[in-house]
Subunit: 337 residues, 2 copies
């Protein structure tokens, strides 16, 4: 799944920051890929990018019109259809993170076909995939895992890519979720893959590479989440990770969306992830803990990170507040003898 | 996914017992659902059922023409298409375990539409499914788990259903694979489900039930199989099993299809499955071990079962040689106080 950059980010009539979370992620992590934003009447949110019509964006080199926004009803409203058609006419492909497929709207499908444009539904995976084979691949791999969903796995992985590249290391973010795919312009929506092929999909996503190359794989879910653990385990086996970073939000009261399920402890999460990771890479090791401490004072957060680092013997940071340099220093020691 | 019984089993030009394995499973476990078999010229295999044309089968009450056979190329040969059309004309629905969808052959799709017959592709899941919610359901559940794929999970589950019903217990086999679905006439092909919905699919497959009702859930794969562990974990979480039966083939040299992966030990398999099962049902327990001892003398097999039972403190049987009565006796003690 490849999305051609640069993008024009579509914000619809957004009045709620949550609705444009995906588009904001793209603008934050790949500003060089965003020529502008396009809003409809009534929108009150901006990402601070130049406001451009599809035609103006094409003139500045845009290749893809990105619908990186949530839509309550799951439908594609008429005003959006109009904007999509305008983008197609202006020469742009369309990439959408909506559940509903773009081609399910006849006029969009017909216009795209007539104009020879691509409709890319990043929530759906139609690529033929192999069953995982567990064969050792060359190059190094890092996977973010977590105590729960939405504890900072994508953010941590992207922060690692940025910090590693700053040090001249050969590192590439490998996206497994919709926001990640729009940011990277490529990837595989692992939760949309047929379950027989989860680990096989990850093997395809992170193929053989040079010995000093790092694939930084965006983790999903948690081995302890009753809704999504299967995805997390297939991802862990398929990744054959040399290095794991464990992500956690200390103050979370319960598993996301499941008020009757408590979070696992960090210790449990580390033990179980390591045990399963070693099934496909006997050298798998934990290289860091990443905490989301947004609810804490900086002082308390620093103390918690220091305590956590001492207990588990690896660096512990809040990537947003402290950066991930301490973890990158660990990674410089790879491959370990 | 419901398939209306009774069936006419299609054997094509089969000359190899392996090719008709699925059809044979249906004839073995649900003889009352099989009015006959239908072979083409050149076939040398029979299941011992009456040889009937589709029209003759319809006259005896058949409702569905079952393609429970493997096909090397994955294609649907012309001779098969002819037989399928004949079955449609005779008034039968078609249920197929082939990878290729029946409706992908235009003449089959058109004829079925014109005649108002159903085309049921049991390897594909098109049903809309929910994300798993992990909520406790009423009734009791048993799940077969294993050290590997193809170690007897389906056979053990069906044998338990038979033995429990013989004792008057309220037990129902819940199919998760293609042979199981044809045998039960219903089920969900869990490895064909989109990975986000694995545990949700199992929750749908085994809904709330009477307190003394047992759903006996056909397990798939193994938590230790690098290709399929995600499916196995989603199944384990979604099942909320009260009782687990661990299946194993003692002499197997390596994980199925993966010569470079050793089998986990029984002890490991029990520990890890119990730990994960307890995430969604804190009372989950092991009630038996099922061994495939086909490569051993009966004397050696009996000794191994006795030793295994002593080590793990639960009954251990080879269901094919010794039946599963010892395990059913354990189940009679449920719900445990």
């Amino acid at each position: 799944m490849m999305i051609e950059a640069p993008y024009l980010l579509f914000l619809g009539e957004a009045q709620d920051p949550i609705a444009v979370k995906t588009a904001r992620g793209v603008a934050q992590w790949r500003p060089e890929n965003c020529v502008g934003e396009y809003s409809l009447e009534g929108a009150t949110i901006s990402l601070g990018l130049p406001s451009l019509s599809p035609a103006a964006a094409t003139a500045r080199g845009a290749k893809t019109f990105v619908l990186g926004l949530a839509n309550a009803g799951g439908t594609i409203s008429d005003t959006w259809v109009e904007a999509i058609l305008e983008a197609l006419e202006a020469g742009l492909d369309i990439a959408s993170g909506l559940h509903r497929r773009l081609a399910s709207v006849p006029i969009i499908r017909e216009r795209a076909e007539a104009l020879g444009r691509r409709l890319i539904d990043i929530r759906h995976s139609d690529a033929p995939l192999p069953v995982g084979n567990g064969k050792k691949r060359a190059g190094m791999r890092l996977l973010t895992v977590g105590t729960d969903c939405s504890v900072g796995k994508m953010y941590t992985t992207l922060a690692l890519e940025q910090a590693m590249r700053t040090r001249g290391m050969d590192a590439e973010f490998r996206a497994t979720g919709q926001t990640g795919i729009l940011i990277a312009g490529a990837g595989l929506p692992i939760d949309a893959v047929v379950s027989d092929f989860i680990s096989g999909a990850v093997e395809v996503l992170t193929p053989d590479a040079a010995p000093d190359h790092w694939d930084l794989i965006e983790g999903q879910g948690s081995l302890f989440h009753p809704s999504y653990a299967g995805v997390s385990l297939g991802l862990l086996h398929g990744a054959q990770a040399d290095a794991l970073v464990v992500c956690h939000e200390p103050d979370r009261p319960h598993m996301r969306s499941l008020p009757y399920y408590a979070l696992p402890s960090l210790a449990q999460t580390i033990d179980v992830n390591l045990a399963f990771a070693r099934r496909t890479n006997e050298n798998a090791t934990i290289v860091g803990v990443s905490l989301n401490t947004s609810s804490m004072t900086f002082e308390n957060a620093s103390k918690l990170c220091a305590d956590t680092a001492r207990i588990y013997g690896v660096p512990c940071v809040d990537p947003l507040r402290m950066g991930v340099d301490d973890i990158v220093t660990e990674l410089e020691g790879f491959p370990r003898p």
